[in-house]
């Protein structure tokens, strides 16, 4: 049985065609490497990058910064002139406390200055462990963890728990460190209007309806609310009891940033949870920096061990950075001792805040923004004069007037292009326990004068 001739011819042609296809060049749909070597060299020659940094005008306000000679204590020497300090966040006056300094000196003699390593590689000192225990005991939580930089505390804590795909509800007036933490976490961010619980509830309800459409995804999506105890940008407090109710109703975890309220609010200075009388276990994570009330450097997070222990392996600012110098940790421990031994300084501080809040009412052209017991107030212009630049210039003249007459103030500084919700320009007024009644009155009357002469 032999195949017919046309079969053999057809198969022969087919085999030759297959061989041709196998050995021919592949072609792509989009011709990418069309350029000759000469054209490539020309492109490389022609390309001009932008300059690395754009030129900064010489009269940029941030280049003419204030230089402080000597320690930034109650009486501060700014640009050569002695003034009363209303600009440093030294709420409890512990910056030049003798006991704190001598504790730091003792630590310096024993440990030197730096720790020369991260916490994992022989950078853990017994003072760090002691400080963590003391902070946990003071705040009445199970565990605390220390960071060596205040900004890095919340900016490392948030991405350790919240990852891509998780949802975070955050207040509009959150500070820049929180914004950076959220950006690093790559989660979905939902902003709600400042202190507006109705807006937050609306967002939570929307999320609930979304969940019902896709219950499998909802079961693994974590949700968080990030709020501050005492907001740096607006000076008011968050309504924590309502937040707790929302937490249990919609099953969201709460992260509380207490940099300004730690050591200020509450009967013993434990912050906003003590102020409202809330059980501290209801808050999942409290983060604060030690650079305000404790007059040291660094920050800490406290909460239950279940939550805090995770940061020891996944908090980037903790694992990959050198630990806090021991002299600063010793100073913080001594400051905590002073806070525990003198619980009436908190009441004194709040009384002074009320005093100046009242005294600053009624300045023509400037309005006071902030709670009456907040030690960091803002003075904003009642009417803006058109552009932010002009507002800033006007406020600078007010500040200069006060500085020339012996009261050191500063404007609140922001990065205008980077903030999500830029607050209006304002003068920052900071109250400390060391300021006397006369000094508070002097500052208030000076501000009235300055407003009169500059704004009218």
């Amino acid at each position: 049985f032999q195949a017919p001739a046309y079969h053999l011819i057809l198969e022969g042609i087919l085999i030759l065609w297959i061989i041709r296809l196998l050995f021919s060049k592949t072609y792509k749909l989009q011709e990418r490497s069309d350029l000759t070597l000469k054209e490539k060299e020309e492109l490389i020659e022609e390309w001009q990058p932008e300059p690395l940094v754009p030129p900064v005008p010489k009269d940029h306000p941030a280049l003419n910064y204030n230089i402080v000679s000597g320690p930034p204590t109650h009486i501060i020497t700014v640009n050569g002139k002695e003034c009363i300090n209303f600009a440093s966040f030294n709420f409890l006056g512990l910056l030049d406390n003798e006991k704190v300094k001598s504790a730091a000196q003792a630590s310096l003699k024993k440990y030197g200055v730096g720790t020369c390593g991260p916490r994992g590689f022989y950078g853990t000192f017994d003072v760090h462990l002691e400080l963590e225990e003391r902070l946990a005991k003071f705040m009445r939580t199970e565990e605390a963890i220390i960071y060596s930089y205040g900004f890095a505390t919340i900016a490392s804590a948030i991405p350790a728990y919240s990852k891509r795909g998780d949802i975070v509800f955050v207040d509009e007036a959150a500070c820049f460190a929180i914004q950076k933490g959220l950006q690093a976490s790559r989660s979905n961010i939902k902003l709600f209007k400042h202190n507006d619980m109705a807006d937050l509830e609306r967002l939570l309800k929307e999320q609930e309806t979304e969940d019902q459409k896709n219950p499998r995804k909802a079961r693994v999506t974590r949700r968080f609310i990030v709020v501050e105890g005492l907001y740096m940008n607006t000076g008011d407090i968050c309504p924590l009891p309502e937040l707790i109710k929302l937490k249990y109703k919609y099953k969201v975890r709460i992260f509380l940033e207490e940099s300004l309220s730690f050591g200020v609010l509450g009967e013993h200075g434990r912050g906003i949870t003590e102020h409202f009388g809330i059980n501290i276990d209801d808050i999942d994570l409290i983060s604060a920096n030690m650079e305000n009330s404790l007059a040291s450097i660094g920050g800490f997070c406290c909460g239950r061990s279940f939550i805090i222990d995770h940061q020891r392996l996944s908090g980037q600012g903790y694992c990959f950075s050198a630990s806090l110098p021991p002299l600063l940790a010793a100073a913080a421990i001594e400051a905590l001792n002073i806070m525990e031994d003198n619980p009436d300084i908190f009441r004194t501080l709040r009384a002074k805040c009320e005093h100046i809040h009242k005294a600053l009412q009624g300045i023509s052209g400037l309005k006071v923004v902030g709670e009456s017991f907040s030690p960091a107030l803002h003075l904003q212009l009642e009417e803006s004069c058109g552009s932010r630049e002009n507002d800033v210039k006007l406020l600078k003249r007010v500040v200069d007037y006060c500085m020339n007459s012996g009261v050191a103030l500063t404007q609140a500084c922001y990065l205008e292009k980077e903030e999500k919700c830029l607050p209006p320009p304002s003068i920052r007024v900071v109250i400390t326990v060391e300021q006397t009644e006369q000094e508070l009155d002097k500052a208030a009357s000076l501000l009235k004068e300055a407003a009169q002469s500059v704004l009218n």
């Binding site: 490539k40 490389i44 390309w47 990058p49 690395l52 940094v53 900064v56 940029h60 280049l63 910064y65 204030n66 230089i67 000679s69 000597g70 320690p71 930034p72 300090n85 440093s88 030294n90 512990l94 910056l95 704190v100 300094k101 000196q105 310096l108 003699k109 030197g112 200055v113 730096g114 720790t115 020369c116 390593g117 022989y122 017994d126 760090h128 930089y149 205040g150 900004f151 728990y161 950006q183 690093a184 909802a218 693994v220 099953k251 975890r253 404790l294 007059a295 239950r304 980037q316 600012g317 990959f320 950075s321 050198a322 110098p325 002299l327 100073a331 500063t410 990065l415 980077e418 920052r428």
Partner: protein, 516 residues
């Protein structure tokens, strides 16, 4: 295999780096070790889930049990089952200055590393091969710390304000001038934390529409800064100039992906010395590439400032180049200066821009004055401004110690990575079981070492990392080397096939310059 590059005019001295591959059986056994650990891990998880074994981890609150779980069980598998077994080798607390010798707090565990308790005793005079104390400035000598004590008394410990508001002290101005003089540049700016220096300033320099070319093994702070900036990131193979050149050419020729618009600017992120490999960046080649393709160079000298170079000025001096070749010089003060914080230095325009636009200047507290004073005194000592030659002696001592230590380890037959001149010495262990054994045995011999495994290193390449210091004496180094010799034989760590010890008669060299 060694790769010694004598690239004609670019390199003024020989550049020798080692990255020897281990024999195949080592990789096989490493994988077997991890597999055994994983199987046991599944077994233990199973027993814990069924209540046959006690759960030792902290648990969620009762009231919040119906919330979405905070951690995925699988994410923590490695932590629970593999890391937990050898956890006692990390986070060891010390209670003295981290100098060439320190005191460790004795720590025991009753339940296989789930919890620790302190016995109250201290292990005294443990040789410190783990702290980043390259020039030995971590000291408590009263004379040396005289000025720091004085400044602490004067200024206290806090600053309580940001650089742009009321936080710029005269100490910062003094320090910045000194740093600029030390490095030979126009101006410098200092920040309170080294990690934050990278993560807060890279976003200020680049943004959307820019391209970042970053080395494979860059530190987390550089990666975080690059991610936060919003620019496109492309990675080139570690210290591989062909890979970098290809990326540069492709970037300029083809532009941005999809739209093919030109890139606004291209910035190359490299480190001076890589802390896990011990390799030194190939700076002359990178600078010539950067000049040819008009890119910008950001050099992170965290480990190399003070540690390499004839007078301790870092890799720029090591290669005999001028600081003008690098656009952004960044470094930290934690390692060689025994303090804390970071700096960025360069042209005045760059530093002025950072003063106005850096996130750290506007939102973060400035450096604390006693720490600034420690950096000032260390730098003055290095520059010789305190009237002694102590600074130069320290740099020379570090160089001698590094060469001696590395040469001896090579002779003994260990696999060491990195450049011959880098004080960071990674010694390869490979197998997971040896990580724990090595660190514990060295502690028994009173030597503190640092071991690293996955995920800081590739899974098959766990290592022990030694940091040589100028404060180590010859006796301390000999003690460490003898201990390593013994332990290397006991744990069979001498994997190198090129060790000189196999033919001692052929390598009878007399290195006169090291023996004085």
């Amino acid at each position: 295999q060694k790769n010694g590059v004598s690239n004609g005019t670019l390199y003024k001295k020989t550049f020798i780096e080692h990255f020897e591959q281990a024999p195949m059986y080592v990789a096989v056994f490493t994988f077997v070790g991890f597999a055994v650990g994983t199987i046991f891990g599944y077994l233990r998880d199973f027993m814990r889930a069924w209540g046959l074994e006690k759960r030792n981890i902290a648990a969620e609150r009762e009231q919040q049990k119906d919330f979405v779980p905070l951690y995925q069980d699988f994410e923590n598998f490695y932590t629970r089952n593999l890391y937990m077994r050898i956890r006692d080798n990390w986070n060891r607390p010390i209670c003295s200055v981290p100098g060439p010798q320190f005191d460790l707090m004795e720590r025991v565990t009753d339940d296989y590393n789930w919890t620790f308790r302190f016995t109250g005793r201290t292990i005294k005079n443990v040789i410190n091969m783990g702290s980043y104390n390259y020039l030995g400035f971590a000291e408590t000598d009263v004379n040396a710390l005289k000025t720091v004590t004085r400044e602490l008394e004067k200024y206290g410990t806090g600053v309580c304000s940001t650089r742009q508001e009321m936080g710029t002290l005269d100490k910062h101005v003094e320090l910045e001038k000194l740093v600029a003089t030390f490095l030979g540049v126009e101006d410098a700016m200092v920040f309170g934390m080294g990690f934050a220096t990278n993560s807060m300033n890279i976003p200020a320099l680049v943004g959307k529409g820019c391209l970042i070319l970053s080395d494979e093994l860059n530190h987390t702070s550089l990666v975080l800064g690059a991610r936060l900036s919003g620019a496109t990131i492309r990675i080139f193979k570690h210290n591989n100039m062909q890979s970098l050149e290809k990326l540069l050419r492709d970037a300029i020729i083809y532009g941005q992906p999809r739209t093919h618009r030109a890139w606004r600017k291209i910035i190359i992120l490299v480190e001076g010395i890589y802390s896990m490999e011990g390799s030194i960046v190939r700076l002359p080649e990178i600078v010539s590439l950067k000049n040819k393709y008009k890119a910008y160079l950001y050099l992170d000298e965290a480990h190399s400032i003070g540690a390499v170079g004839a007078t301790g000025r870092g890799v720029v001096e090591y290669f005999g180049m001028s600081p003008d070749d690098v656009d952004v010089l960044m470094g930290t003060f934690t390692k060689s200066f025994g303090a804390a914080g970071g700096y960025i230095a360069g042209k005045k325009g760059l530093v002025d821009f950072l003063r106005t636009h850096s996130h750290s200047a506007v939102y973060a507290t400035s450096m604390c004055p006693p720490v600034a004073e420690q950096i000032i005194r260390a730098m003055k000592c290095l520059m010789g401004l305190d009237g002694t030659t102590q600074g130069l002696q320290r740099v020379r001592q570090l160089e001698k110690n590094t060469r001696y230590f590395r040469r001896k380890l090579h002779e003994m037959g260990f696999i060491i990575y990195g450049n011959d001149d880098s004080p960071v010495v990674p010694l390869l262990l490979y197998m997971p079981g040896k990580i724990g054994a090595f660190a514990r045995r060295m502690l028994e011999k009173n030597i503190g070492v640092v071991v690293v495994g996955f995920p800081a290193t590739p899974i098959t390449e766990s290592r022990a990392r030694f940091c040589v210091s100028a404060a180590h004496t010859r006796e301390m180094l000999d003690k460490v080397l003898n201990a390593l010799d013994e332990l290397g034989d006991y744990l069979q760590l001498k994997y190198s096939r090129y060790s000189k010890s196999s033919h001692p008669e052929l390598y009878e060299e007399t290195r006169l310059e090291l023996e004085d």
